[in-house]
Symmetry: C2
Subunit: 506 residues, 2 copies
């Protein structure tokens, strides 16, 4: 019965998921590749999503007592070397500054000159350079806890890049805290993970699973890495935020010592935690459909676009006056503490106009023409519904229920994503089913298969490696509530295992 | 009669102005030098000033239709080379990335590896890399004007650095706009300068003079550079913001072309404009005194500190309850759209406590002890007044007039700075007086002498150079209202000159 509906994004998700992603980024005007290998340009429509995330998260950080500061972009190589696993983790992918000016060569071209005595690394993360400052700032237990966050760009030289998900330069925040006791640092690690959960679930409408990383997936130098993991629509996992308990490792590396209440000297306990522009990739892959992105209203660049319907030039004045008054009434309101943002698009470009906004994922499209005005109504389309499900509403009730409609979209997006994740999360206890589950050949869509397997793992790194090498599947996290049971390890069959989340991942 | 009062900053401004500056930065806990040559660490108390400037300015930009975006940190050398004067201007002071990983050498030390085919420069400014994107974004007159701003870090390798004023890395914003006509671009250049004037004068309480730069002081590649100049307390000028009309120079360099309304193809007209963390240096040097910085309330990290006076342990509960209720009442209010921020400092460290807040420049200090509570009053000290001028006020009227008191401080700081500038601005028309005015030997304070000379200049670059070489004095700006008159050039004596502002400068 159903005929094939033309979709705005070509290919569709089921035809070619990775290419669908690239085309959505382009069609939605979020970002583009730059002339510099691996670096992206974040365009205004995409950057405003980041601005909204920053504001939301920054307020949440500050509510827990965190203060912002700023540390140097460059890190001396000798600093990286202070923590052995840390330098191992980052040496292979860092931008190295070796000179401090350019000079003309014999052919008149510019070449690096002014060689630095010690090369500098563009920060891939700032533990070591911040540690250097902290070693001066922390002297006594009275200076603790020290709770600092930095909003910054970082660089990790990537060979295969994908906009928002894996780029050589990205924007992020990195929190760094110092504590007098292990217990307090452990608690802070968990507290900040919970901040991420709230932000990602309530604000980005992305449901996440909380847990800790296995040893092999830990941040280089960390004692414990907590994480939140989300499922994308190709059923792969996206790590949406991490919070690291660093023990005394970085305090020893950077000499962060303090005088205790009983006047002895002790190394401090530190944490670090970060999220990045990769979250925007998560929004695209969680909520997007075959017509483009769908922006959750709380983080959307704008909440609605008004599309005046002007078929005859003599209608223009009446329609635009009606539109202006509607915009004013909507803008008087707030939406979860943010000003309502409304676009008006009166370009005369036919159907392309509506499609542009669909592809950009604006939550609401509102058509207003002479007939609507005669009836004192508006014609409303929700981006999370089918395009033809437009509703005529009395203008007053539209204005009055505007933020409720937005809340409805926000809730629907979350519920849909949660249902999707639950539909593709399976308890799998035997080895054969596990291997079958993750074998692409078992699906007609090579990029969309598998999902989250909740499976027993004995804790042996060899089992992890075997599964990773065989299937490209990794342990995404060990959920906090996972307990050791008699279940047998899905790899080696040993009992005394605990349930963990296995998945392919970004 | 007056005995010497001990000051918190050693040396005082008149004893050694440059050293006073360094000591104030340190004592106020705003920032510190880092282990990386020329790079600063902005500490929380200093960073929150920047956050306040960013929020204020960002709102002002957006009100004029500007949108934020983000462009790559790295610029290929070939991009810089596209505009001849531009590369000349920046080649001597840029950080060059030549490798993308680190490797162990024979001795086990880490050395740069993975040499890049084309070295990358860490952006000193983004005209060329943004121009590359704009050449794709701009196709038709319908895409114009394009109004983009970026908040970012930039790097200009400096040999002699001073925190906030001249550092190898600093934070800034750079606006970049594209227009269909010259007139519109010229108007935008001026419009953004006016935004800077409003922000610097109304928000930072720093009076400025508006004008344009002489050809030799222009931004590399610009047709016209507009600027605002402020006088610091050593009577030197600080450039507080610049706005450049770039003509079609960068449009030609980056191929930013558009189809006009009459369907021909034309190069666009562009502008760029920027301000930076250097503004914080301006706040310090405009308002600071021999006890530290004085923060204008609108940009202050916090508005007031409450200092509980607890001489007997049994008083603690009563005093702290009174303090808590006072804080709640104050925090209910807003101050120019920002939440009121109040610190409470109940440390038992004697007189050092008050002095710490004086050095940090908090606008108001409020003492509350058992006697004040008995009288239902508070003891208030304004940072812009003498320390002993404390006023006892009924607590209710203090709460009610709180924002008025802050406004009074804000206005007083501006008026004081304006009076200072006027006292040290002189119309000087003859060569000898001009040379006398700028000769350090004529002052008993070698770093504090001269000021702004409003003097006639014939327009010849040779005269500019002579004065610069003889006196280290430059033309800070040609005020917009300056007219050609019969006055004779202060250097060569030729008539047909116009009045310009000469000064030593940061």
């Amino acid at each position: 019965m159903s005929k094939k509906v033309q979709k705005a994004i070509n290919p569709t998700r089921s035809e070619d998921y990775p290419e669908w992603y690239q085309q959505v980024v382009k069609a939605s005007d979020l970002a583009e590749r730059s002339a510099v290998r691996g670096c992206m340009v974040i365009k205004p429509w995409g950057y405003s999503i980041w601005e909204n995330i920053v504001r939301e998260m920054d307020d949440m950080f500050k509510d827990t007592g965190v203060q912002n500061a700023y540390f140097p972009l460059f890190i001396p190589i000798s600093f990286l070397e202070k923590e052995a696993r840390h330098v191992e983790g980052f040496a292979k992918e860092c931008a190295v500054v070796t000179h401090h000016r350019l000079e003309k060569d014999d052919q008149g071209g510019l070449v690096p000159a002014g060689k630095l005595a010690e090369p500098l690394v563009v920060r891939p993360t700032s533990e070591t350079i911040i540690g250097d400052s902290f070693s001066r700032w922390v002297k006594s237990y009275r200076d603790l806890p020290l709770l600092i966050n930095q909003w910054a760009n970082v660089v990790r030289w990537e060979m295969r890049t994908r906009i928002f998900l894996r780029t050589s330069e990205f924007l992020w925040q990195e929190g760094h805290t110092v504590h007098a006791t292990e217990a307090e640092a452990v608690e802070r690690t968990r507290q900040m993970l919970d901040v991420y959960v709230r932000c990602v679930e309530d604000f980005l409408a992305i449901p996440v699973i909380k847990g800790r990383k296995s040893a092999s997936e830990r941040f280089p130098g960390a004692v414990d890495t907590l994480c939140i993991e989300a499922m994308m629509q190709d059923r792969k996992a996206l790590q949406a935020g991490t919070s690291h308990f660093l023990g005394q490792n970085f305090a020893r590396a950077s000499e962060i010592k303090f005088q205790t209440t009983d006047e002895t000297e002790a190394y401090a306990w530190t944490t670090s935690w970060g999220t990045s522009t990769r979250l925007i990739g998560g929004v695209i892959m969680t909520h997007g459909d075959d017509d483009g992105i769908i922006l959750p209203p709380k983080v959307a660049s704008s909440h609605a676009v008004i599309l005046p319907i002007i078929r005859k030039p003599e209608d223009r004045q009446t329609v635009m006056a009606y539109v202006d008054s509607l915009v004013l009434r909507l803008r008087e309101q707030n939406y979860h503490g943010r000003k309502i943002k409304i676009e008006v698009d009166d370009r005369d470009i036919g159907g392309a106009r509506g499609w542009e906004w669909i592809k950009k994922g604006i939550p609401l499209r509102v058509e207003v023409g002479p007939r609507d005005i005669a009836e004192n109504s508006v014609f409303v389309a929700r981006r999370d519904k089918r395009h033809r499900d437009k509703t005529s509403m009395p203008v007053d009730s539209f204005v009055e229920t505007f933020t409720d409609i937005l809340d409805g979209i926000q809730a629907n997006l979350f519920d849909r994503a949660l249902a999707f994740r639950e539909a593709h999360t399976h308890k799998i206890e035997d080895n054969k089913s596990f291997y079958d589950y993750f074998t692409p050949e078992n699906s007609d869509k090579p990029e969309i298969h598998g999902g989250f397997a909740v499976s027993p793992w004995c804790g042996d790194e060899n089992c992890e490696t075997t599964i990773k090498e065989d299937l490209k599947v990794t342990i995404r996290c060990i959920p906090f509530d996972s307990e050791v049971t008699d279940a047998k390890c899905v790899c080696c069959g040993k009992p005394r295992s605990r349930s963990v989340i296995f998945s392919k991942a970004y």
